[in-house]
């Protein structure tokens, strides 16, 4: 058998290297750097860096994501899932903005700028007042409205037994009706459907 473990491959990661790549933030605040930013600084940055896609008030331009409002829509026919209406943790906002935004110029924002933009997004969602200053210290004061509405995958309890019964093979229905046609919607790309090449 092939040997297992202790290959002596790779080398020790230096602290500077870990610091450069390990930028992730957790809900308990682990990973947050020193820094702070207020709502009004965040608004200026947002208008400059974010509003062309996300709108001045986080309402979203075109098909770009809406970041604000939508509260109370999750049970309805057209849920609007935003930072305020849906996201469970503030840390995710900070981490994602810092890691991946602005789209096309990721990791260009300083920690203070990320604190300020995050504060402004919280303000747009009516989670904080306009005098709020987000910092590593004040981070723990903020609770997201939808935090308690997520739960662990419960398919094992709710679905697996129900969908593991012996299925019908013969005379399973009295009749069959077509209730919906994709062709009526006609949203399939040209050349993609209808046997086209």
């Amino acid at each position: 058998p092939s040997r297992e473990g202790d290959f002596g491959l790779g080398r020790a990661a230096l602290p500077e290297e870990v610091a450069a790549w390990d930028i992730d933030i957790r809900p308990d605040g682990q990973g947050l750097p020193e820094g702070s930013g207020d709502v009004w600084t965040g608004e200026e940055l947002f208008v400059e860096q974010c509003a062309m896609c996300h709108g001045d008030f986080g309402e979203g331009a075109g098909r770009w994501p809406q970041l604000a409002m939508g509260q109370g829509t999750l049970e309805g026919p057209d849920p609007v899932k935003t930072v305020g209406s849906y996201w469970p943790y503030l840390s995710t906002v900070w981490d994602y903005v810092h890691r991946a935004m602005p789209f096309g110029n990721a990791q260009s924002l300083s920690p203070d700028e990320v604190y300020a933009i995050t504060a402004y997004i919280l303000y747009l969602n009516e989670v904080v007042e306009d005098d709020f200053v987000l910092s590593r210290e004040s981070f723990a004061e903020v609770t997201m409205p939808n935090e308690d509405n997520f739960y662990m995958d419960d398919r094992p309890e709710v679905e697996l037994a129900r969908f593991s019964e012996a299925p019908c093979m013969e005379a399973c229905k009295d009749g069959v009706e077509i209730t919906m046609h994709a062709r009526v919607l006609d949203v399939t790309p040209e050349g993609g459907g209808d046997g086209g090449g």
Binding site: V18, V83, A100, A106, F150, Y151, V176
Partner: protein
């Protein structure tokens, strides 16, 4: 079971004859004039073809130019954070050709140089480590065939039949043989501490893709893969290194893998809070819905692959898969679920891999409502879309493994429909 001489098949045909009346399967009529494809000298019979130096890396025949990935522009705001679709209706067997494997990026295709590729392991480990590509190639390897299905595959179909073709309704999937190093070996090399319970996998692209994965899965069957179907990963599939997370939603298969952090809790990052959580009718949402449940689809006939030949013997074929095991059985129906027949499985049956099924029968030329129903090795039977909607409503976006219906008309043209 599906041989046309089988008594149960004969029973079906007798029934069909009784209703349809007078259909007789017959050989195509005799030619009245000689076939020029035979009688005339063809250019390839006469002139020399290209030499062995013409195609250092070969492409499909020009006659297969329509077999390509396609995207649906209206689905997303921008092509760099978007998806395209594998042409399932044109493929057979279980292996997806590398150039046709669907793509899903969140920040476009990162073009990494393997010379400066680094994989870091840090967090709750005894020794944080950095590996080069050359280091990874010195660990013991494994080869495994697994499907990768996007969590959103068939997601546009939750509210009803939308897109007309299995490429679009089911094509966010591919199935290749991966070669790689068990993630367990890399974690053991760094020395996982006893308080560890989760890992964070992180990509090197501009989206900085991250997902939390329980340590148990990481130590079980995850691979740090560098080959697909024998050759290096394609850039759009994570070249030079991606994570393989068998049976679990595609988003977790982090491409351009640059870092594994070990921790004691999940990170709840954007792709496991805002995205890849499943909203239910009461306004609450499931999180960490990792497994992809048993699913199947008939790939031919289908809207992009109509029946070209009229009544008579024909081949119905499709794919089935489960994130919880293998697929020992698939049932098919031609009448919208009134009567079901066991299909014939063909080809290897690998764990958490695509499986190929066939149903060989004589079509009487009448309209059909085709469905397939997968059974996995745990005993789970693929549910109808309505059975899923009863529990989940219409807004959960992800994990739609409901039974697909194709309506085939007298001309052999198929359409994506929903039925009662």
């Amino acid at each position: 079971m599906t041989d046309t001489r089988d008594p149960s098949r004969r029973g079906f045909l007798t029934g069909a004859l009784a209703i349809g009346g007078g259909f007789v399967a017959a050989r195509a009529g005799a030619e009245t004039a000689p076939d020029p494809a035979i009688t005339e000298l063809q250019p390839w019979q006469q002139y020399l073809g290209e030499g062995v130096d013409a195609r250092p890396y070969g492409f499909p025949s020009e006659h297969e130019a329509h077999v390509v990935r396609r995207n649906v522009p209206w689905l997303t705001a921008d092509a760099t954070s978007s998806v395209n679709f594998t042409p399932l209706h044109e493929l057979d067997g279980i292996i997806t050709p590398n150039g046709l494997c669907f793509e899903r990026h969140h920040g476009g295709i990162a073009e990494l140089d393997p010379g400066s590729y680094r994989l870091m392991i840090n967090g709750l480990v005894d020794s944080p480590l950095v590996f080069t590509m050359q280091d990874l190639l010195r660990f013991p390897r494994e080869n495994r065939v697994h499907f990768l299905e996007c969590a959103a595959n068939s997601g546009m179909e939750w509210r009803g039949a939308q897109l007309n073709g299995c490429q679009f309704t089911h094509g966010m999937i591919h199935n290749v043989m991966y070669t790689g190093v068990p993630l367990r070996l890399l974690l053991e090399e760094a020395g996982v501490r006893t308080s560890a319970a989760w890992i964070l996998a992180e990509g090197a692209d501009a989206s900085g893709m991250t997902r939390s994965i329980p340590l148990e899965k990481a130590l079980d069957d995850c691979l740090v893969a560098f080959k697909m179907n024998g050759e290096a990963l394609r850039p759009e599939q994570g070249y030079p290194v991606r994570l393989v997370v068998p049976g679990w939603e595609g988003n977790m298969w982090v491409k351009w893998l640059r870092r594994i952090e070990v921790g004691d809790q999940p990170w709840h990052h954007r792709e496991e809070t805002s995205k890849y959580t499943d909203l239910l009718p009461d306004g609450r949402a499931r999180r960490f819905t990792w497994e992809m449940d048993a699913k199947s689809v008939i790939t031919s006939p289908s809207p992009q692959a109509p029946i070209p030949h009229g009544p008579g013997p024909m081949v119905l074929t499709g794919l089935a898969w489960s994130g919880r095991g293998t697929i020992p059985r698939v049932d098919v129906t031609l009448d919208g679920g009134v009567t079901w027949t066991e299909a014939r499985m063909s080809g290897p049956s690998f764990d958490k891999s695509l499986h190929r099924f066939y149903h060989d029968f004589v079509w009487d030329g009448r309209p059909m409502l085709l469905q397939s129903r997968a059974h996995d090795s745990t005993g789970y039977v693929q549910p109808t879309k309505d059975a899923l909607r009863e529990i989940r409503g219409e807004n959960s976006i992800y994990h739609n493994n409901g039974i697909q219906t194709w309506a085939v008309n007298e001309s052999g043209v198929a359409e994506n429909v929903e039925i009662s």
